[in-house]
């Protein structure tokens, strides 16, 4: 890994990473909330399930682990983004629910009830 010696270096790296991330946005992205609480509620199984199922169905997608999203009451939670659409948050995602999300929301492109409304703004 290269050492960053100046803000200019860092800006270049940031821009490169940002455009790489924008490329990812052209595919399905599943972020699984994996902090201690999420894992205790089964987030690891949920994440493995998404990885395997999306792979089996040959869907171009990335599954990423993140920290706590703050919806403790609805763990495990995921944030799902499809190309060209705003990301949405699903709660109580066990493997059964994960299957439903893959089949209906991702593959069939149907609307799904039970989306948790985004209740905050972030600075970034």
């Amino acid at each position: 890994m290269m050492k960053i010696d100046s803000v200019k270096d860092l800006k270049n790296l940031r821009d490169k990473l940002k455009s790489a991330e924008n490329l990812k946005k052209a595919t399905v992205m599943v972020k699984v909330s994996m902090s201690t609480c999420g894992i205790a509620s089964g987030a690891r199984e949920t994440m493995d399930y998404f990885i395997n199922e999306l792979d089996n169905k040959a869907i171009d997608a990335s599954v990423i682990k993140t920290g706590c999203m703050g919806y403790c009451y609805a763990e495990p939670t995921i944030e799902l983004s499809k190309p060209g659409k705003e990301p949405v948050i699903f709660g109580y995602v066990d493997t059964k629910r994960a299957q439903e999300i893959i089949d209906k929301y991702i593959v069939a492109d149907e609307e799904l009830v039970g989306i948790i409304p985004l209740n905050f703004e972030t600075v970034n």
Binding site: I4, R14, K31, S33, T66, F120, N124
Partner: protein, 489 residues
């Protein structure tokens, strides 16, 4: 939708959005840009001035102005200085710091480096409880990655500033959140607080000037540097700027981690964000500040939350635990619960805290057993005041707060326990009686068979009776009765 967005995420800006184990995702969201900006374009004095101007105050509970703390450490001449991150989160039901370290460890590392540059430190220490294995693991990964890019180590950003961070583990003692006790613990001594002054900014770790800040305080720093103090201090109230993360727990529908601007009301947090009380029950009280804080009632629901308002209301901000209670919660039992915690966690160094809290607990226990007297109520208040006034550190100085605030806000509950041997909430078992409604009882004898202590008697097909002296109040009879003939009186 607009109504729902009562939260602004500054400290939690990346939590849940980035992979905490991949530094590139942090960099893509302007990570380490604040450190770069400070090292290339700002002097330590200018940076401290910016933090002071932002109005940021310590998020661990004390609310001391962060910029001023940095300045105090900077002003002391010493060969070696330290910056410390206090990740010893000890309030029951609080998990803000853990979530930040698990979700966005780099923001804390970046802020510690900025702090070190300002105060003139070259070594950083994160004091974290060993009960947070995942946070430790992710922090270690983050430290390694930061070193690889050169954000830690020698000549950071090509400057002559060098800095690195080590991790120190705590055994999970509540008192070690107090900065002098924390420093003692890091030095391998007993986790006992010392007398202040001298403050850690003069004589801290290894006798050297040490700046201790909380995880959440650090998480705010990079944003303040990048967005500017003027942007930050527009959020919040006159004396409390920015946002606060709360761990919303208890009898509320949407239990979770929330970050709200200072000045929001408790009602907005509990009812709008928290979705109201579980099972449609009635709101009774909310405990903020954990075992050091107090309980607030319906009368405080519209008070804007900031450091000073909460203190005036008889509680405190604390590190951000917020436990909501409903009509089924007994306030005397609640105070007893927190006292039980304090008695366990008192380090035992000073007598008021060691002995006083134990006696306070015993008095509360007596009251919940229905054996309290008027004199006990007087003693309770008196002793609580003495402990507050004479304890050495923050733990003892604040531990009677749950007792005092419940006595002030719910005097009728204490009276009822003492005078009428009644617990409104039905939580104090010793004060409850299981009674069989004669008219409703069919004499089926099912209750007789489930009673583990043979306290129920009566002829078959005739009304039954419970012998209150033998009854252990297990409730098995009420659960089994098919006719709803047994009630709590």
């Amino acid at each position: 939708m607009a109504k729902l967005k009562k939260q602004i995420r500054i400290a939690l800006r990346n939590c849940g959005f980035i992979n905490p184990e991949n530094i590139d995702e942090y960099i893509a969201r302007d990570g380490y840009m604040a450190l770069g900006k400070v090292l290339e374009t700002m002097s330590p004095e200018e940076t401290i001035e910016e933090i002071k101007k932002s109005g940021l105050r310590g998020r661990g509970g004390g609310g001391f102005p962060t910029g001023l703390k940095w300045e105090l450490t900077r002003k002391v001449d010493a060969e070696q200085k330290y910056v410390v991150c206090n990740a010893d989160e000890g309030d029951p039901g609080a998990f803000m710091d853990r979530s930040i370290l698990e979700g966005d460890p780099h923001s804390v590392i970046e802020a510690m480096a900025i702090n070190a540059f300002c105060t003139g430190a070259s070594k950083g220490l994160v004091y974290i409880r060993a009960e947070y294995p995942l946070a430790i693991e992710r922090l270690k990964i983050a430290l390694k990655q930061a070193r690889e890019y050169g954000f830690l180590g020698n000549n950071i950003f090509g400057s002559n500033f060098s800095f690195d961070i080590e991790i120190r583990y705590g055994a999970g003692a509540f008192v070690c959140g107090e900065e002098t006790a924390l420093i003692h613990s890091m030095e391998g001594l007993r986790g006992e607080p010392g007398v202040k002054p001298p403050f850690p900014s003069e004589k801290g770790y290894q006798g050297m000037p040490t700046n201790v800040n909380n995880v959440e305080t650090y998480a705010n720093i990079p944003v303040i540097i990048l967005e500017g103090a003027d942007w930050f201090n527009k959020i919040g109230t006159e004396k409390s700027k920015g946002t606060k993360v709360f761990a919303l727990a208890g009898k509320v529908n949407n239990v979770g981690l929330v970050e709200v601007p200072m000045g929001i009301t408790l009602r907005e947090v509990i009812f709008d964000i928290g979705g109201g009380i579980k099972d449609g029950k009635k709101f009774k009280a909310v405990q903020t500040g954990g075992p050091s804080g107090g309980c607030l009632t319906e009368a405080h629901l519209d008070t804007p939350i900031d450091y000073d308002n909460l203190i005036n209301a008889g509680s405190m901000m604390g590190s951000g635990g917020m436990i909501v209670m409903d009509e089924d919660d007994c306030m005397v039992s609640m105070a007893k619960f927190y006292l039980d915690f304090t008695v366990e966690e008192s380090c035992g160094k000073c007598a008021p805290c060691r002995i006083g809290n134990k006696r306070l607990y015993e008095l509360l226990d007596k009251i919940t057993e229905g054996k309290g007297t008027d004199e006990d109520l007087f003693k309770l208040r008196n002793l609580a005041t003495v402990i507050k006034d004479t304890s050495l550190c923050g733990l003892g100085q604040t531990s009677p707060n749950p007792v005092l605030s419940t006595m002030d806000n719910f005097p009728e509950e204490y009276e009822a326990h003492v005078k009428d041997s009644k617990c409104f909430a039905g939580q104090c078992k010793a004060l409850m009686q299981y009674i069989i409604e004669e008219d409703a009882c069919t004499g089926c004898t099912l209750c007789v068979r489930v009673c583990p202590v043979d306290a129920i008697s009566g002829e078959r097909k005739m009304a039954h009776f419970i012998n209150q002296d033998t009854c252990i109040k297990c409730g098995a009879c009420m659960e089994k009765c098919k006719f709803g003939a047994i009630y709590i009186g």
